[in-house]
């Protein structure tokens, strides 16, 4: 398939979306759940702190939202750039 300008734009938009999604992905798990946990230790959640909640439950919920948002957004981008499956 030849490289068309629209394909380039489509790919750039995709990379932007994936990059931002992965920034959030890393922030909630590696950030809030592990490395930044001491910073969140002041916020109490049911007998422990917010970092513990992110490590055991919060990250998973954010991952779910991320994937569904990505799928919805990408499927829209496909149509906008005319590269969706007919």
């Amino acid at each position: 398939m030849a490289e068309t300008p629209s394909n380039n734009e489509y790919w750039a938009a995709n990379i932007r979306l994936v990059t931002w999604s992965l920034v959030i992905w890393a922030t909630v798990s590696f950030g809030f759940g592990i490395v930044l946990r001491p910073l969140l230790s002041g916020i109490a959640v049911g007998g422990t702190d917010l970092g513990f909640w992110f490590a055991q439950q919060g990250s998973i919920i954010v991952f779910l939202v991320l994937i569904f948002f990505y799928a919805w957004r990408m499927n829209k981008l496909d149509i906008q750039h005319g590269v969706d499956e007919e």
Binding site: M1, A2, E3, N7, Y10, W11, N14, V18, S21, L22, W25, S29, F30, G33, I34, V35, R37, V45, G46, G47, T48, D49, F52, W53, A55, Q56, Q57, S59, I60, I61, F63, L64, L66, I67, F68, Y70, A71, M74, N75, D78, G82, V83, D84, E85, E86
Partner: protein
């Protein structure tokens, strides 16, 4: 009806259900055998993927590891779910667009090299066999308990069942069998958790119960747990104990490994459209999250219940006498996975952290001569309903659920291994003229070989089920994931780069694991231990992330030092990146 009969009845009934569905679904769709999932709704496909994915490690082992370690093992929870984000955004839609059926096929075509395909086959086999060892450990635990035999016998029986189950083959491909297995395993996991959450906190949703008030003490559940474990010299449950660097690398290894394991990836090859590959990853995670949000509650509540069982009058009072121990302890003693050794000869079960220096004085004062109870982490989930005094049918249901989880994944992995050997290696490389019958024979030989190796190593496993499985993820992370990702996101990485990258990642990771877990996992041949690893705090289970980094770096350097890929490969990458035209790729 006694517990033994009840167990047999539940396990037997669920097996009959799977076989029944397989026969019913197979009769109508023999021609669609290899295209399982195509034309299946993304929600259904997501559920089947979840059953494929959640193995003995998730079901039997993980909550136990969290229970005995606490916060530090949150890595399992984040790692085994976070990988789906990578899968959905970096691999699944593109591999679907490519439209072939196996991972080595993609790597062979994208890197225009039969050598790359063979290296991918080796990586796939190494990671999958390690994974099967972990499943065997879990299967052994489950069978030994519900048939009331010792652990080794349970393992042999389990191995035979796995082999027969996998050789029947077609069952794996039938999406509806997996849907049934998912329903059995999620029901079996959730029901006891709901009962226990109600008992301890009055909240029927375990995920919320974890952060609710412990009714008996009036304190938040986790605060109460922190209190009682520390009263026995154990580390604080919600506190970080190990190294932060190791925890980050371990979590990352599990995430990358999730996106690099062949039996999960192939599910996305076969959804109807590229858009569905994205939705399917989301739905798979929905069904996985139902178990993963419950698991930390199961772990914390089981730990609390276990301590209350041993110290019925509180940790400051004397523990229970061995002669008064509950029936479930007696049952698990039969398996050899729970043992009592009366170190100070007083007939009471002292269970505490004998390794704690700060607690040593208290222990000496109370006349304790060492912790007398040893509990294998892998029994916790299966023993959980018995510890909480739940009815017999719940116990039987959990046994059936654990076996469903272990068998569905083990069978899927064995099929991936046998396919790689008979299809990619023998037919693709050594003997292209082999007859279909010959190919099938080799598939069975490969399967039998893998079961024998996994059973032998499962007798002296390199760790608890989930830890062994974690090693498999490290291997997949270091070898397969980087090759797939570079194949899609880089037009510059060429055949030589991919081959040397995969080899470097696999070999360095494998050597690091063998140095800590013994060469070829044979006990006693290790030079280092995970308590004192070769590289600072980095345990062998966490090394996959570093292996992946080595893979990426080697591939980048080698590719830039050698010629660019040919134009048709650059065109192939361009075409993988857009969904349009995927329909054509469907026709095989």
């Amino acid at each position: 009806m006694d517990q033994y009969t009840l167990n047999l009845l539940f396990v037997g009934a669920t097996f009959a259900l799977y076989i029944g569905i397989a026969i019913w679904a197979r009769a109508g769709s023999t021609s669609e055998f290899y295209a399982a999932g195509r034309g299946v709704h993304p929600v259904t496909n997501g559920m089947a993927t979840a059953a494929d994915w959640m193995s003995a490690a998730s079901f039997i082992s993980m909550a136990g590891l969290i229970a005995f370690t606490g916060y530090d093992n949150s890595s399992f929870l984040m790692g085994w779910t976070g990988g789906y984000v990578l899968l959905a955004m970096l691999l699944a839609p593109y591999l679907r667009k490519f439209g072939k059926f196996t991972v080595p096929e993609f790597i062979g075509d994208r890197f225009y090299s039969p050598t790359a395909r063979m290296v991918a086959v080796v990586c796939l086999i190494v990671a999958s066999v390690t994974y099967v060892i972990g499943q065997m450990t879990g299967v052994g635990v489950a069978f030994s308990r519900f048939l009331e035999v010792d652990n080794a016998t349970g393992l042999y029986i389990g191995a035979a069942v796995v082999f027969i189950y996998a050789v029947m083959g077609g069952m794996k491909g039938v999406t509806y069998t997996q849907v049934a297995q998912y329903v059995v395993l999620i029901t079996a996991y959730t029901i006891p958790a709901v009962f226990i959450s109600l008992q301890l906190t009055g909240n029927p949703i375990p995920a919320l119960g974890l952060f609710a008030e412990h009714t008996a003490s009036g304190l938040p559940l986790l605060e109460r747990l922190d209190q009682v474990v520390q009263e026995l010299g154990f580390a604080e449950y919600t506190g970080a104990q190990g190294s932060t660097l190791n925890m980050v690398l371990f979590t990352l290894s599990l995430m990358i490994g999730t996106a690099g394991l062949p039996h999960v990836i192939i599910r996305f090859f076969t959804v109807p459209r590229v858009a569905d590959a994205r939705w399917s990853a989301g739905w798979a995670l929905v069904f996985i999250a139902l178990l993963y949000l419950t698991a930390p509650a199961v772990g914390a509540m089981a730990r609390l219940n276990l301590i209350d069982t041993v110290y019925p009058n509180g940790t400051a009072e004397a523990p229970i006498a061995y002669d008064d121990r509950p029936v479930w302890m007696q049952n698990w003693e039969v398996t050899g996975l729970l043992t009592f050794n009366d170190a100070n000869g007083d007939g009471l079960i002292q269970w505490y952290n004998a390794g704690s220096e700060s607690f040593a004085a208290t222990a000496a004062e109370r006349g304790w001569a060492g912790s007398e109870l040893s509990v294998n982490r892998d029994i916790l989930v299966l023993a959980n309903p018995e510890i909480a005094n739940l009815p017999g049918w719940v116990i039987a249901l959990v046994a059936a659920g654990g076996l469903a989880a272990a068998l569905s994944t083990a069978a899927g992995l064995l099929l991936a291994i046998s396919g790689a050997i008979s299809h990619d290696l023998i037919k693709g490389q050594l003997n292209p003229n082999i007859s279909e019958k010959g190919e099938l024979l080799w598939a069975r030989i490969a399967m039998a070989g893998a079961v024998v190796v996994a059973t032998y190593l499962g007798l002296n496993p390199p760790g608890f089920a989930a830890q062994t499985v974690a090693l498999a993820f490290g291997l997949a992370a270091a070898s397969i994931f980087p090759a797939l990702m570079m194949g899609i996101f880089s037009k510059r990485v060429n055949n030589k780069g991919a081959v040397w990258g995969m080899l470097a990642g696999l070999i360095v990771t494998l050597v690091y694991i063998f140095l800590h877990k013994g060469w070829f996992f044979i006990p006693g041949t290790n030079t280092f231990t995970d308590a004192d690893p070769l590289l600072g705090p980095i345990k062998s289970t966490s090394f996959g992330a570093i292996g992946a980094l080595i893979n990426f770096s080697v591939a980048y350097v080698v590719s830039n030092a050698t010629e660019e890929p040919p134009q048709e490969i650059i065109d192939l990458v361009e075409s993988i990146r857009v969904p349009r035209g995927a329909g054509a790729a469907q026709d095989h």
